[in-house]
């Protein structure tokens, strides 16, 4: 049996834990816990980036690790927690599909993602190419999380988790995006978060709830 070096093993473990967290997010119904899981995902991403930076010696990966720590572990969860407190949304009731069906769907998505990643991994030359499948799975699972929720809050968490997946995918396929792009994306996410925060208040003012189903009808009075 061929043994991988220890840092790659750690990276693979980080990838597996990321996937595990994505599944927990899929199953989680409480918005507060959802945000905590997102913060944990950010933490894992930070560890993974640091490991990769140490392995490849690329300076910009150190920077993006620090950026991850500041933004995804501390900044965004803090903002989200404050929003939750102000808006008083703690539960995402009535999921659109029942939980076990969602989980089974998640499993199918993982199989699909792993299959999809096979040819990409074969072409990539990075040491972390085997984790590309995990990154794709995280993206798609976050997408599923967004689809199956009604409340705007949990959809935003799903969106941020999808960004985590993209970041991880870029990291494992090409050792991260160029610094300019990474900074741009980070800023985008931050701004999106702030704008969405304002949106939440507007939505609630209009409909007295954060349920996005109210946005589906075009007229106010039927």
């Amino acid at each position: 049996m061929l043994r991988l070096p220890l840092d790659l093993q750690l990276l693979n473990t980080c990838a597996a834990l990321l996937l595990l967290l994505s599944f927990s997010m899929l199953a989680q119904r409480r918005v507060v816990n959802l945000v905590n899981l997102l913060a944990m995902q950010g933490g894992l991403l930070f560890v993974a980036t640091l490991l990769l930076a140490w392995r490849t010696g690329e300076f910009h990966l150190f920077l993006s690790a620090l950026l991850t720590l500041a933004l995804k572990v501390v900044g965004l969860p803090f903002l989200l927690h404050r929003l939750i407190r102000r808006l008083g949304v703690y539960w995402d009731t009535e999921p659109l599909i029942n939980p076990s069906a969602t989980m089974l769907l998640g499993l199918l998505i993982v199989i699909f993602a792993f299959g999809l990643a096979q040819p990409i991994s074969a072409l990539a030359s990075t040491a972390t190419r085997s984790t590309i499948g995990v990154a794709i799975a995280v993206i798609l699972l976050a997408f599923l999380t967004m689809i199956t929720r009604r409340k705007a809050m949990s959809q935003v968490v799903g969106f941020l988790s999808m960004e985590n997946g993209l970041f991880f995918g870029a990291m494992s396929a090409t050792y991260g995006m160029p610094m300019v792009v990474e900074l741009g994306v980070a800023l985008d996410v931050l701004v999106a978060m702030l704008v969405l925060g304002v949106f939440f208040f507007q939505i609630r003012e209009q409909f007295d709830s954060l349920d996005l189903h109210h946005l589906e009808s075009l007229k106010e009075h039927e």
């Binding site: 043994r3 093993q9 834990l17 595990l20």
Partner: protein, 316 residues
């Protein structure tokens, strides 16, 4: 078969039989602490067993021989299981008799007997408990097998001692897939041993109980054996978990008698930590409705399958 392995085998079975009630007592004690109650003594299960052994057994009218032999069968299977599971050493003379899959079958035998005996008397509660037990069982079993298969794929053998041996070789080798199967195994352990999210071992509220409902007709020595077997089952599951996820410390042939001397305290430490962990999970989670139990076990199965997929993708 050397003398040392024979000694290890004997010691392991005796240790399992004697310590299992204390392990259960320890879990109960931790639960009481976490719930701000005054804890019962760790030795409480022993006193309960002693009390029951001194009573006269009463059998229900129309109880068939099956009902009488079930406690002995169940206790026997648990003892055999304890002999197969490598809790102290990995080179056991009896362990070649059955691999991990046969072990799951052995545990299933015990379940079938308990359920049949519960239905034997024909009371409503017995049948109800038996049906629920079978529902939990048939969902938990594939999950447990999947967990075993992942460990078997990593170490290329289905024999539990060899799995423990190959997983404990390099402390520095990490298996990401075991993170998933670890979660799955914990869920299965809770469901199979009638712990809180699925069943409450402390309840006698008829509508929610599963395991207790099946024991309602038993008394005295039969009940004592059934309760002892339940404690042994929890102990066995904990040891299966140790063999797959924390296999370090179980003695190997090469280490000689010193290894065996070291293996006992290591096992004790693992049990103390595992017991506290079980108590913590039980305190933090709420009892699920019976109809939510399939969902709980489906999650376990799903995590085990994910472990398999991750092993295929990331495995070295």
């Amino acid at each position: 078969m050397t003398t040392l392995s024979a000694v290890t085998q004997t010691l392991e079975v005796i240790f399992a039989a004697l310590v299992a009630p204390a392990f259960l007592g320890w879990v109960n004690q931790c639960r009481a602490w976490l719930q701000n109650r005054r804890p019962p003594s760790v030795l409480q299960p022993y006193w309960g067993l002693r009390k029951l052994f001194h009573k006269d057994a009463i059998l229900a009218d129309g109880a068939s021989p099956l009902f009488r032999i079930t406690p002995y069968v169940v206790f026997g299977t648990m003892i055999v299981a304890a002999a197969i599971i490598p809790s102290m050493g990995t080179r056991l003379p009896l362990s070649t008799a059955a691999d991990g899959i046969a072990l799951v079958g052995l545990l299933a035998t015990a379940r079938v007997f308990v359920s049949l005996a519960a239905m034997d008397i024909g009371t409503a509660f017995g049948s109800l408990g038996a049906r629920r037990e079978m529902m939990v069982g048939f969902l938990a079993e594939p999950a447990l097998l999947m967990v075993l298969f992942v460990a078997a794929m990593i170490s290329q053998t289905t024999s539990l001692p060899l799995i423990a041996e190959s997983l404990s070789v390099g402390v520095h080798s990490l298996y990401p897939s075991l993170a998933f199967t670890g979660v799955a195994f914990t869920l299965v352990l809770l469901a199979e041993n009638a712990r809180i999210p699925v069943d409450n071992p402390a309840t006698h509220l008829e509508l929610t109980m599963i395991h207790e409902a099946m024991l309602l007709e038993y008394s005295a020595r039969h009940l004592a054996l059934m309760e002892w077997a339940a404690a042994l089952k929890l102990f066995n599951y904990a040891c299966i978990g140790f063999a797959m996820f924390v296999p370090w410390g179980a003695t190997r042939e090469a280490l000689g008698p010193l290894g065996l001397v070291l293996a006992v305290p290591v096992l004790a430490v693992k049990l103390v930590i595992a017991g506290a962990g079980i108590a913590l999970i039980e305190t933090l989670s709420a009892k699920l409705r019976v109809f939510r139990a399939p969902e709980f076990l489906a999650t376990a199965f799903l995590f085990a399958v994910l472990g398999l997929l991750v092993h295929l993708l990331l495995g070295t």
